[in-house]
């Protein structure tokens, strides 16, 4: 469907997936105005890249989700965005929003229920890598824990999540 580059397909895609993508983008960028721009940017990218989607490498929704997530992460890591958030930059130059770790910005009860069941150290590691796009090294610095611990916590966090979702 997507491969044909059909614009009708993009409408269907928008109707089906925009709430999920918008929610995740908003969770990452934190402002509705920016989230709207990022969502538009993400859909244009999906449209442009649709011919290169390879079903053998993964699920369609995961692919779309990652494009949206990466667009949002690129945005919070861009110079112009960082410039507007000067007060929150860290000593090591890695941008990190404390508020993201301790509070869940969305009002959705489902998220809260699920996320509350995760241990705080697992929740914060997911925040760092999934919502802030940190590499292991950056997450280790930001959370002030050893690299090996980051890896272990990611593994456990995703498994806990898997259990909670099923």
């Amino acid at each position: 469907m997507l491969k044909s580059g059909d614009r009708k397909a993009m409408e269907i895609l928008y109707d089906d997936y925009s709430p999920a993508l918008y929610g995740v983008i908003l969770r990452i960028v934190g402002s509705e105005e920016t989230a709207e721009d990022v969502l538009q940017d993400a859909f244009v990218k999906i449209w442009k890249k649709s011919a290169s989607y390879d079903a053998s490498k993964g699920r369609l929704f995961t692919w779309i989700l990652n494009i949206a997530r990466n667009s949002a992460i690129d945005m919070i890591r861009s110079k112009s965005y960082k410039g507007s958030q000067k007060n929150q930059s860290m000593d090591n130059g890695v941008y990190y929003r404390e508020t993201m770790v301790s509070t869940i910005s969305t009002d959705s009860i489902g998220v809260r229920e699920i996320v509350d069941k995760l241990k705080p150290e697992h929740r914060e590691v997911i925040d760092c890598v999934y919502f802030n796009g940190y590499t292991h090294t950056e997450a280790a610095k930001a959370l002030n824990i050893p690299l090996g611990t980051v890896k272990t916590r990611i593994k456990i966090a995703i498994r806990e999540l898997k259990g909670l979702m099923n």
Binding site: E32, F43, W47, T62, V111, T135, I158, R159
Partner: protein, 278 residues
């Protein structure tokens, strides 16, 4: 390699959450093609993160739908507006666009038919190529060069497909991240024609002065099968020396040039034929 251990290592979790390094990502993508269990596990983890994302869903403002669709339409118009001049100097009559499309369509259909006839490994690899084809055919302009490349690719691919479909033995060799370096190689054997081919799916360029050498073990003795080079095209099949009754295949990184014996410390990957069925 132990698939269970690989899954337990946590690398798949890092892959889905996006924190894996570029090298780890490539490794996972190579592994999931080879091991269905890994593919299945990765699918489960992807679904988990999809569900996690769904929890965050929030309807975007209604006006955004038109804005996004307009932006997509604008991108499309922008691309259609770009015109690439055709090369008309080589022939007396200007080439007809329709002819090009006929060619591309014929190639695409032929490719599709071939794809269906193949077994899974080949199928996966072919999809990359056919994707390129459909990308190109989707654009309204095609240069003579592009067409030539498609033809060359297609002929090459058809040859590879023919070799793969005639082969009566297929062996994969690989080493995971716990080894010196990760690599992934396929050996194809056509017993009737007595031909063997190697396909390099994943291999780092050898350090300056070093080379990769492929060996077979026959009657407990090493048999040199030749040098392994990294091709430009990861699908390419390179002929290697045919070996009867191999007990094992070994890939070494030779630091002192071409060798006649296998040194334990130079082994990158090895596969014993006891585990491969044939």
């Amino acid at each position: 390699m132990n698939v269970r251990e690989y899954i337990e290592s946590g690398i798949l979790e890092e892959y889905v959450v996006g924190s894996a390094s570029e090298q780890e990502r490539q490794e996972v993508e190579c592994m999931l093609r080879v091991y269905p269990e890994i593919n299945e596990e990765l699918n489960k983890l992807s679904k988990t993160l999809e569900q996690f994302a769904m929890l965050h869903q929030q309807a975007p403002p209604a006006h955004l739908r038109d804005r996004v669709l307009a932006a997509i339409a604008a991108t499309e118009a922008d691309e259609a507006g770009r015109v690439v001049p055709m090369d008309t100097t080589t022939s007396g009559t200007p080439p007809q666009k329709n002819d090009y499309f006929k060619w591309v369509a014929a190639a695409a259909i032929a490719l599709l038919l071939v794809t269906v006839a193949l077994y899974q490994n080949v199928k996966t690899q072919l999809s990359d190529k056919s994707m390129q084809l459909s990308t190109v055919s989707g654009k309204s302009e095609l240069t003579a060069d592009q067409l030539k490349n498609i033809k060359t690719d297609y002929i090459q691919l058809a040859n590879q497909v023919s070799i793969m479909s005639h082969c009566d033995m297929k062996v994969k060799m690989e080493a995971g991240s716990e080894c010196k370096q990760s690599c992934c190689l396929m050996i194809y054997c056509d017993g009737k024609k007595q031909e063997m081919y190697v396909q390099v799916n994943k291999l780092k360029p050898a350090p300056e002065g070093d080379l990769y050498q492929l060996w077979a073990v026959v009657d407990d003795k090493p048999v040199d099968m030749g040098r392994v080079e990294i091709p430009n095209d990861s699908l390419a099949l390179k002929p290697v020396k045919f070996v009867h009754h191999a007990q094992a295949f070994v890939l070494t990184l030779e630091e002192n040039g071409y060798d006649t014996v296998i040194h334990e410390d130079e082994i990158l990957a090895q596969v014993s034929m006891d585990h491969q069925g044939m």
